[in-house]
Structures are given as structure tokens and as C-alpha cells.
């Protein structure tokens, strides 16, 4: 039995439009559930706001402000708050839902993380060109005060490093979440491999510790993805500072 089959996606509703497979999988449903929880979280957090906030309003305010305190120095514009708050919440809620036994979060699927990273890459380029103009934006790939013969090496590397960004962004999130679930499944799988009661306590204690660590990883990885996205977008928005 391959225990990693638990981490693969399963088609719930087969769907094909114009020859393109857009079937609804279990991971897509988990993503919808995560979006539903995000809507509930922010709806009830901002429903009856008061100057003296209740506990839930306090939690939502702390959540948004902590995120914004870290993102604001990079993008330097309040207009980006909903975007990054939404991005962070989507990844975080998906990751946290993965902690429930039997639920496969979409973040263990490279397609999900790659799509997010590709969107960030496109937004970075579009926003950079729109803000600075196409000439100034592409000239920013050429470092100043560098001899011409070094530019022959530096400019292609600069372009390649731009192209590699979405790849490293998607791999980072996918690998961390997948590895956490793989370790959890492996530790539980030891019970079935050894078929002994003696392995049970070790496996269960290990599972508890790894699961607790997974909650921490869920927050950290959501934050790193959002932070790096903000950094990339901020870099293309404010070229003179980088």
C-alpha cells in the first residue's frame, strides 16, 4: 500500500469543457471551504465593530494589523492590504484545514502553489511596467556602475533570476506542506509496517508533535509566501529603492 496516495487528489465531479479537464477534486472543495471560512471570519469580525472591541473583533484586528505592519514598509501603499490579506488568509486557511485528519489541503498540490506564484509573477511585471513605464522597468535589470563586459553576464542572470522566482515561490510552499504531511503519514504508517502494539505509543506521540509543528509551519509558510510576494511586487513598484 502506498501511503502517499492519501495526499493525491481525487476527482469528485468529472468535468470537461472544450477538451480541457476542469474536474472538481477534493482539494478544490477544501479550497472552497477555506474561502467560506475566510468570508465568515472577516464578516463576523467586522459586523458589529465598536471602539471597545469584543474578543473576536480584537482577533481580526490583530490579524490584519500584524500582517499589515510587516507588509506596509515594503509596498508602501494601503491599496494593497486587501490583496495581501486575502492571499495570506487563503494559504493559511488551506494549510490549517490540512491539519484535520482525512482532509488533503490544496497546498500539497504543486498546481495550486504554482498557479498562485504565476499570478504573483504576472502581477509583479504588470504593476512594475504600469508604475514605471516599460523602458525604466526593464532598465532596472541593468545594474549601474558596472563595467560593460560584466553586464553580458549580469543581465541574463538578472532576467533568469526573475523567471526563477515563481518556481522557487511555488516549490517552497508545496515542499514544506507536502513534507509535513508525508512525515505525519510515515510515522502513522510505521504502525502498519511493524504490526506491533509497541510501535503505537511512539507513533502517536510523534504524530502529536509533528501535528503541532505543522500548525506552526502553516502560519510561517503562509507568511513567507505573502511576504516574498509583497517583496517582489514592492521591488517592481519602487524601483529606485532597490
Amino acid at each position: 500500500m502506498n501511503i502517499f496516495s492519501h495526499l493525491s487528489d481525487r476527482i469528485i465531479v468529472p468535468l470537461k469543457i472544450a477538451g480541457i479537464d476542469i474536474s472538481i477534486t477534493n482539494e478544490i472543495i477544501v479550497m472552497w471551504v477555506a474561502i467560506f471560512f475566510i468570508i465568515l471570519f472577516f464578516y463576523f469580525g467586522s459586523k458589529k465593530t465598536s471602539i471597545i472591541p469584543n474578543r473576536f473583533q480584537n482577533l481580526v484586528e490583530m490579524y490584519v494589523l500584524t500582517l499589515w505592519e510587516n507588509i506596509e514598509p515594503i509596498v508602501q501603499s494601503r491599496a494593497w492590504l486587501p490583496f495581501f490579506c486575502g492571499l495570506f488568509s487563503l494559504i493559511l486557511f488551506c494549510n490549517l484545514l490540512g491539519g484535520i485528519p482525512g482532509i488533503v489541503p490544496p497546498t500539497v498540490n504543486i498546481n495550486f502553489t504554482a498557479t498562485l506564484a504565476l499570478c504573483i509573477f504576472l502581477i509583479t511585471q504588470i504593476v512594475g511596467i504600469k508604475q514605471n513605464g516599460i523602458k525604466k522597468y526593464f532598465l532596472s535589470f541593468v545594474p549601474l556602475d558596472v563595467p560593460f563586459w560584466i553586464l553580458i553576464f549580469i543581465v541574463p542572470m538578472e532576467i533568469l533570476s526573475q523567471l526563477i522566482r515563481p518556481f522557487s515561490l511555488s516549490i517552497r510552499l508545496f515542499a514544506n506542506i507536502f513534507a509535513g504531511h508525508a512525515v505525519t503519514l510515515t510515522i502513522i504508517g510505521l504502525i502498519f509496517v511493524f504490526k506491533s502494539y509497541w510501535v503505537l505509543p511512539g507513533s502517536l506521540i510523534g504524530h502529536v508533535f509533528i501535528s503541532a509543528f505543522e500548525v506552526f509551519v502553516a502560519f510561517i509558510q503562509a507568511f513567507i509566501f505573502t511576504f516574498l510576494s509583497a517583496f517582489y511586487i514592492g521591488s517592481s513598484l519602487n524601483l529606485e529603492e532597490h
Partner: protein
Amino acid sequence: MPRKDISLFEGVSLGIEIAASVFLLSFLGYKADRLFQTSPWLMVVGVVLGAAVGMWNVYKISVRKFK
């Protein structure tokens, strides 16, 4: 947050930055090798270029961090 600390989280993931660039470019080199029947040269070029791009990224992040 002070400007200097902004690249803290970027620094945390420096390893993946190098690994990702080496992996991606060597994979592209491998595919190009199979296409043009030049095995293993384009993959070697991909590995070297990937390592160079990875190190360049690390250099840029380090300069920004310790400026």
C-alpha cells in the same frame, strides 16, 4: 519594521532559492539535451548556470541585508 530586517524571511529561504534555480535550469538543460541530441552538455550548462543564478540571488539578498 526597520528596512534592514525586511529581507529576514527572504534569508530564511536562501537554500531553496539556490536549489530551485539549479533544479529548474538543469531540468531545462536535460530536456534541451533530449531535443537536440547533445547529452549531457546542455544539462551541464544548466547546472552551472543554475548555480550561478542561485549564487547571484544570494549575493543580492546578502548585500541588501547587510547594507
